[in-house]
């Protein structure tokens, strides 16, 4: 790809009070690319993801979506967020809505799409995540894995240009991790641009186009998964990988 990256981080700095959590991040995610961000806890990888959706504000630098600066003070945040889907560790489904209700809410309220059309679309999306039989279930009636798949369908309902996944399997029982990763695998295969923060190294190695290792608020190393996992360039990466074994 010769064009500029779809999602670009440029010298991004973020502070929580006195704590410097992102120390000048430069990173680009190309269209159709799947970037997996890994690193020890506290490395700033989740914060980086949240900054990309303006759930956190940055203090320095810029983040652009298809060339549009989304961190500018006059950016139309609501419009930009529609183009960036986000899936959370804790699902954050709306408990007062059914699975279908969760998926249709934003298209109806934000886009003004007619109920019937939104329902049809929800049907398709829930089928895509393997939950067409659960459309009328409330979140509390679903397993964690099912809830997370509804959350993915909900994010997809806004037809985002890029999807952000923030440790989406960390809160799941081990036997439920697979179904969520499966959905993500399918998405990647369909060419969705994705930025994934995860501890699932198997998934990272198998699906990622590129691995980004973060530590202490900095990017330590990036690279092709195969090369990164077998022959890390930096000592920090080697250390991190050795602890996983």
């Amino acid at each position: 790809m010769n064009e500029a990256p779809l999602l670009a981080f440029e010298n991004v700095h973020k502070y929580f009070g006195e704590t410097h959590v992102l120390k000048g991040i430069d990173l680009g995610v190309d269209e159709g690319e799947l970037v997996v961000v890994i690193g020890p806890s506290g490395s700033g990888k989740s914060t980086l993801l949240r900054c990309a959706n303006r759930l956190e504000e940055i203090q320095e630098g810029e983040i652009r979506l298809a060339g549009t600066p989304l961190t500018a003070s006059d950016a139309d945040v609501n419009r930009l967020r529609q183009r960036i889907g986000m899936v959370f560790q804790s699902f954050n489904l709306f408990p007062h809505k059914t699975a279908a209700g969760n998926v249709t809410l934003a298209p109806r309220k934000v886009r003004g799409i007619a109920d019937e059309k939104a329902e049809e679309r929800a049907e398709t999306l829930l089928e895509r995540v393997g939950l067409s039989d659960q459309r009328d279930s409330y979140p509390a009636e679903l397993s964690g894995g099912q809830q997370q798949r509804v959350a993915i369908a909900r994010a997809l309902a806004m037809d985002p240009d890029v999807m952000l996944f923030d440790e989406v399997t960390s809160a799941l029982d081990p036997e439920l991790v697979g179904e969520v990763l499966g959905v993500m695998r399918d998405l990647a295969a369909e060419g969705m641009t994705m930025m994934v923060v995860t501890h699932e190294m198997g998934f990272a190695r198998e699906v990622a186009d590129r691995i980004v290792l973060m530590a202490d608020g900095e990017i330590v190393e990036t690279g092709e998964p195969e090369r990164f996992f077998t022959d890390p360039e930096t000592e920090r990466a080697e250390q991190f990988l050795s602890k996983l074994l």
């Binding site: 609501n78 959370f88 804790s90 408990p95 007062h96």
Partner: protein
């Protein structure tokens, strides 16, 4: 050691259960004895009839002024219940606002209306507001009703606002974040995601406040609002009979508060917390 205690100062569960039952029984028997004495006093103590049943029947007749008073408090209650809950939503939203000015004003509002007695507020409005006008020039000639409605609304909006704030703050922040991440504006997220859930959390507290609202109408007697306590005072000063009007007034209040309390419990069950997602 399967026992709950090892001879400590606090009673064992079984003893505690029995003590509780005994205490409840004593209370129930005392109340029963009191009521029997009250209602059957003429038979129990010769010549000492506490409830003048003739007067009670007279006061309970359809033409009695007590019904007018009852209708009055029902009307003022229904009106201010709706208004105070609506205003309470705005107070609650103000309290959780990230804008310091809005949050500050909302906070002052709540502090004032919760921090001063309702009696003070109703007097400040009914006697204080017309004092801004020259004698005889105050334009609202029947200020009792507006004063009552405004005072009850302002006071109870503070309480339902705080109840709603509690309901909002008890929601995981992820709810707002998820809604915003889908591109909803703050207002859309509040309206469609946060408030419907916060409302369910707030139902017991708001319902409780509505019951207090019914009882607060009694304080309107100080502004010559024709309500039940004034009616009692009137009968009492005319007839020197306490219990006949007291029984009637008590029954009237309970005909509002008991169904209301049942409604609140029902609403609380409908707002089933088990529907809330685990984090």
């Amino acid at each position: 050691m399967s026992e709950t205690g090892t001879g400590g100062p606090i009673a064992s569960d079984e003893t505690f259960r029995r003590l509780g039952m005994a205490a409840a029984l004593v209370v129930a028997l005392s109340v029963g004895a009191f009521l029997a004495l009250l209602f059957l006093s003429g038979h129990v103590i010769p010549g000492r009839q506490l409830i003048n049943y003739g007067l009670l029947a007279e006061l309970a007749q359809p033409s009695s002024d007590y019904y007018g008073a009852y209708i009055n408090i029902l009307q003022v209650f229904l009106l201010t219940a709706v208004m105070s809950v609506i205003c309470g939503v705005f107070v609650g939203l103000g309290r959780i606002s990230k804008t310091p000015l809005t949050a500050g004003i909302a906070r002052l509002y709540v502090e004032f209306f919760r921090g001063t007695p309702f009696l003070f507020q109703i007097m400040a409005i009914y006697y204080g507001v017309p004092a801004f006008f020259e004698p005889g020039t105050f334009p609202l000639t029947n200020f009792t009703w507006p004063a009552a409605i405004v005072a009850l609304t302002l006071n109870h909006a503070a309480y339902s606002g705080e109840a709603l704030r509690g309901g909002i703050e008890s929601l995981p922040t992820g709810q707002m974040e998820a809604a915003r991440s889908l591109g909803m504006s703050y207002v859309q997220a509040m309206r469609n995601v946060v408030l419907p859930q916060a409302w369910r959390n707030a139902v017991p507290a708001v319902g409780n406040d509505l019951i207090i609202l019914v009882k607060d109408t009694s304080l309107l007697s100080v502004i010559a609002f024709p309500e039940l306590i004034s009616q009692f005072q009137y009968t009492y000063s005319q007839q020197f009979e306490a219990w006949a009007p007291l029984v009637l007034v008590g029954v009237f209040y309970l005909t509002i508060t008991v169904p209301l309390s049942a409604l609140v419990n029902y609403a609380g069950e409908v707002a089933d917390p088990s529907r809330r997602a685990e984090p």
